[in-house]
Homo-oligomer: 404 residues x 2
């Protein structure tokens, strides 16, 4: 069996944890499996590097940020190879150049285009455990790119897809996918399995178990994912095409506290303005999430949208530079908001789910600022201060009744 195992930064934060990961991988290897390990940077390394860069140039070129940040994973993989050697098992570390993890050109937010399999297969065939740097790639200029936060999951899935691996295990500090964040909702339960689509909605909505692109890619290439704990041996949650006859109405409640809301006030009420706004943002590489446009009154309308809070500054900059062309009178930039979502494949065939969710929030005294839906998801934007109360109310409404 060929297994790809991905461990996050906290799993390799110090010597003891590095050896712990090494032993887990070696256990698999000694069962006769071929093992590829994908690692993130140790502990706070990435944050420390960002702080170092910000101290020198808060507006550092993104190309150079990626050049800098990529060293974190290279450190992890080299140390892991040393730990495995110490334990008597042949291992080799490879960075993005050495594997040849080809990505798009966009620094700090690149996407995989193609992963070469020759070098990894060559090393696996030589009987080695192969340890690959997560989070990074190389673009057509031979420059180092990074995939953005959580990108190591995507690296693991991209490698699993390329090698046609039997499974791709994502180790985290939780032991699987829960119906809600157990730190916020005490009745949250672990799911034995979940479909790609549900996981995708949960991931893209802030359930920080898996990076959303990794789930997209797993779905596209049919990679079986396993989310499990790096701290214990429990089975975790399988993410794959689920074919249970009766799908759960709601499989999870997620929140994303890192949303920012930007409101454009007094935009001229004429065709094409919204296009211009979002085209500009897209060209600047900013992902817009929820969008709300007021019904135009007189010749003016308001447009609100959410972005990840890390992109809010860039978005505001782009918009302000084009204020006149976009006919914007005023801006509002608000970061004390959060997205709350429910996700469930059964939602498609069960009307009234949205109404029940809004009712639960109303009963809990939570004000809804924006609403967005997909076939298997309903998301509301609420005040950051209301998150815990809202999560528990919604979880109680959908998840706790199902259990009985």
């Amino acid at each position: 069996m060929l297994v790809v195992k991905k461990f996050g930064g906290s799993s390799v934060a110090n010597k003891e944890r590095i050896f712990n990961v090494a032993r887990r991988c070696i256990d698999d290897y000694k069962k006769g499996n071929k093992v590829v390990v994908v690692l993130s940077a140790m502990g706070d390394t990435t944050d420390d590097l960002i702080a170092l860069a910000n101290d020198i140039n808060p507006d550092a070129p993104k190309r150079e940020m990626d050049m800098l940040l990529s060293i974190g994973e290279q450190q992890s993989v080299a140390l892991m190879a040393m730990a495995m050697a110490k334990l008597g098992v042949p291992a080799i570390s490879l960075n993005a150049f050495q594997v040849a993890m080809h990505t798009t050109s966009q620094y700090s937010n690149a996407r995989f285009k193609r992963v070469d399999k020759d070098r990894i297969l060559h090393e696996l065939d030589a009987g080695k455990i192969v340890i690959v740097t997560g989070f990074q790639g190389v673009n057509k200029y031979d420059d180092i790119t990074t995939l953005g936060r959580g990108g190591s999951d995507t690296t693991a899935v991209a490698i699993a897809a390329t090698l046609n691996a039997d499974r791709c295990e994502i180790f985290t500090d939780v032991d699987g996918v829960y119906t809600a964040d157990p730190r916020i909702v005490k009745n949250a339960r672990k799911l034995p399995e979940i479909s790609y689509d549900e996981m995708l909605e949960l991931a893209s909505l802030g359930a920080q178990v898996l990076h959303n692109r990794s789930v997209e890619m797993a779905k596209k290439y049919g990679v079986t994912l396993v989310v499990r704990s790096s701290l214990n041996e429990s089975e975790g949650t399988l993410v794959r095409e689920v074919n249970t006859v009766e799908k759960m109405l709601v499989s999870g409640v997620a929140c994303d506290k890192h949303a920012a809301r930007i409101a454009l006030i007094g935009v001229k009420n004429e065709p094409g303005v919204a296009f211009k706004v979002f085209d500009l943002l897209a060209k600047a590489g900013i992902n817009v999430d929820m969008i709300l446009q007021s019904v135009g009154r007189d010749d003016k309308k308001d447009i609100s949208f959410t972005v990840d809070e890390t992109e809010a500054k860039d978005a505001m900059k782009v918009l302000k530079e084009n204020k006149d062309r976009l006919t914007i009178t005023d801006f509002q930039d608000e970061e004390n908001v959060a997205k709350l979502s429910i996700v469930g494949a059964g939602m498609q065939t069960n009307p009234g789910v949205a109404a029940r969710m809004f009712g639960a929030l109303y009963d809990a005294g939570v004000n809804i600022r924006m609403i967005s839906t997909s076939e298997i998801r309903i998301t509301v934007l609420i005040d950051l201060a209301d998150v815990d109360r809202a999560m528990n109310a919604v979880h109680a409404e959908f998840m706790e009744e199902i259990e009985n």
Copy 2:
């Protein structure tokens, strides 16, 4: 003019120093020069990484050590590019892969085979300052190699040679090449210029101003070197083909405190034994320096030699594993020794220099353990405890008389 400027780890140890280096490079750039900067890892980064590795595996595979250590320079160059961007000058950092700095395969002690110039020239032509990682290369397996301590000098010279640069400036914490280490010999003087051969002897003998391979390469390709201070604007010392009519008898006194002496006792007195010993060491990649073989008595002889203290452990290991085959009765491994050398192109045509040196040491009560000479150098192995006294005595004998 095309200038390559190399700055060591202490010159980029913190934010202030990074900006200091950035400004110096920008001064050159603004005069219309094309500037390539080669950097070492910041401050103690390399030592910290070695400590991290040793904690995990004191016998770490050298390939993985190089993978680990190379991140130090990548950090420096990325931060330097950010600093230059902050100062409004376009700059780009490049690592060994990106430049394509091809080396031999030997990890931790690789040598350059070929440096590609396309990427660097492309970026220079685009009006950028190009910042390259020192100390590292890539071998034919696409693995990262390092050149050993001080290798960043060699990187700078290799790039200067490849680009046919007008000069290659090596910035250090001293402001030039001195007749002796001023910390040990208070009468030491700065030399305005010195020949490649003299510098080479000084460099390979522990005058830590320049890495010996860098001088070899500079000589081979006729690269004009300038050794100067990163802390002030003083002129420094030119290293080039010197054609002064009367060459100095002795241009410098150097000491190397990092020597180790290994003695092989009771080796069988038959042909081929010495060959076997040094062939084995060569195959293990260990550089042997001074060699002394006793005149054989009966059927036994002793062989002593010196190696860098960092290679003493490896050398002893190789020899012990082959003890029987090499017919060695016993070993001695001694690290409290130092090499003291005098270097001067004028020595070739002036007999009696060695006798004067030995006389000065005798007068100072310094015991000579081994002797080795070249056309322009005389080296003696002495006890580590005698170094300062010996340096001053020899410097007084040769250098202080010349001045008057």
